[in-house]
Amino acid sequence: MNISSHLLVIACQNCDLLHRQRVLRDGERAMCSRCGAVLYRKKRNSLDYTLVFSLTALILFFMANVFPFMTFKYEGRVQESVLFTGVKELFVQDMWAVAVLVLLVSVIIPLFKIAGMLYVLMPLKLNQRPWQAARIFRIVEALHPWAMVDVYMLGVIVAMVKLNDFATIVPGAALYSFAALLLSMAAAGAALDPHDVWERLDVVE
């Protein structure tokens, strides 16, 4: 193939300026000298932290989807809902486009992201390369902005405030799990060092 790699240089993703790659110390980051974008970082124990938080997130994900999410009390009537009820009701009310979108960004993509991260990073920790590792990690990276657990949590808060005036809302176990899921996914995201993962994938065959 008429293609060759240049591992000693890196180009800014925002302005294409070439930089020489340097070895960073823990906690340091390299910035583009022209536009200020972050080129790459070096994080302390990135792989271990990412794995721990991703595993936590996987457990919390199932808890958030199984347990009751919220209970609605109004005029003596009580109604319980789970996380999936919103998607189901949107479907029932003929809002399938919105239903599919909400299902994707609040359930399917977050699950894929957590599972994909574990699938790639766990073997890497043991110096092994799982099947199709590069392709899966590439998809995990591309889906990053579409996993909207954090935004969903704000939607929950706004919904609770809106009902606060005329009804009683009792948060369920799933809601607390969901809040914890948001925190562990954010922690895993902050710990992840994609540059390091790609370099490990280069080395491990």
């Binding site: 240049h6 240089v9 974008a37 909400v102 960004v105 590069a134 590439r138």
Partner: protein, 212 residues
């Protein structure tokens, strides 16, 4: 590195937009892209048809922005009486209930962010199209903000999906999603994809034209 700054493109290199690996491709295949040796993503010097794609998505988003704000996004029906809410009236009712920090947040996420994204992306695409030279650094910062902040506009859509799930006591109280919700969700998704399609490196490419 005392010489003038050199970009990957000037050095005949291609930087992978997924894994950042820098490659030298001696000759791009006829289909216009090579495959990154490390991650398998498509390699091209700049994102393909960046301006045309971003422009098409922005125009579509502008059109849908109108129904998104005119039509109700949901209707709260209590004992047979319906109260439709648009994006804006939803913010107003939050403000009226006294939760102003949350009202400010929702106002920002649902009204300001989509507007900033539409106007900002229009400005960025136009700046490349007309090869403007001023403040490329500020424009790049604007691009990074546009890219980072877009997803937060989904708050209202999630809020509706939660209310629809919670409030379903047939005759007593229900929440019906409205046509505005679909349009609004479409605006958020279209502007997110538009921001991803736009290649900020084109702004810096345009800077080179004057000195050559």
């Amino acid at each position: 590195m005392s010489s003038a700054p050199v970009t990957a493109a000037q050095a005949a290199l291609i930087s992978c937009t997924t894994c950042q690996l820098v490659s030298r491709v001696r000759q791009l295949p006829a289909n216009g892209y090579a495959i990154c040796l490390r991650c398998g993503a498509r390699l091209s010097r700049r994102k393909p048809n960046s301006l045309a794609r971003a422009w098409a998505l922005i125009v579509a988003a502008y059109i849908l922005y109108i129904p998104a704000n005119v039509y109700p996004v949901m209707t709260v029906i209590s004992f047979g009486k319906g109260k439709p809410d648009t994006i804006l009236s939803g913010v107003q009712s939050l403000l009226a209930s006294g939760w102003w920090p949350l009202a400010v947040l929702v106002f920002f996420a649902s009204i300001i962010v989509p507007l900033i994204k539409l106007v900002g992306l229009t400005y960025l695409v136009a700046s490349v199209h007309y090869k403007w030279h001023w403040h490329p650094k500020q424009r790049t910062v604007l691009y990074r903000m546009t890219e980072a902040v877009g997803r937060w506009s989904m708050i209202d859509i999630f809020m509706i999906s939660i209310l629809v799930a919670l409030v379903r006591l047939e005759a007593i109280a229900t929440v019906e999603p409205g046509a505005g919700a679909t349009s609004f969700a479409a605006v958020v998704v279209l502007t997110m994809i538009a921001a991803m399609s736009f290649d900020p490196r084109l702004m810096w490419d345009a800077m080179e034209t004057r000195h050559d």
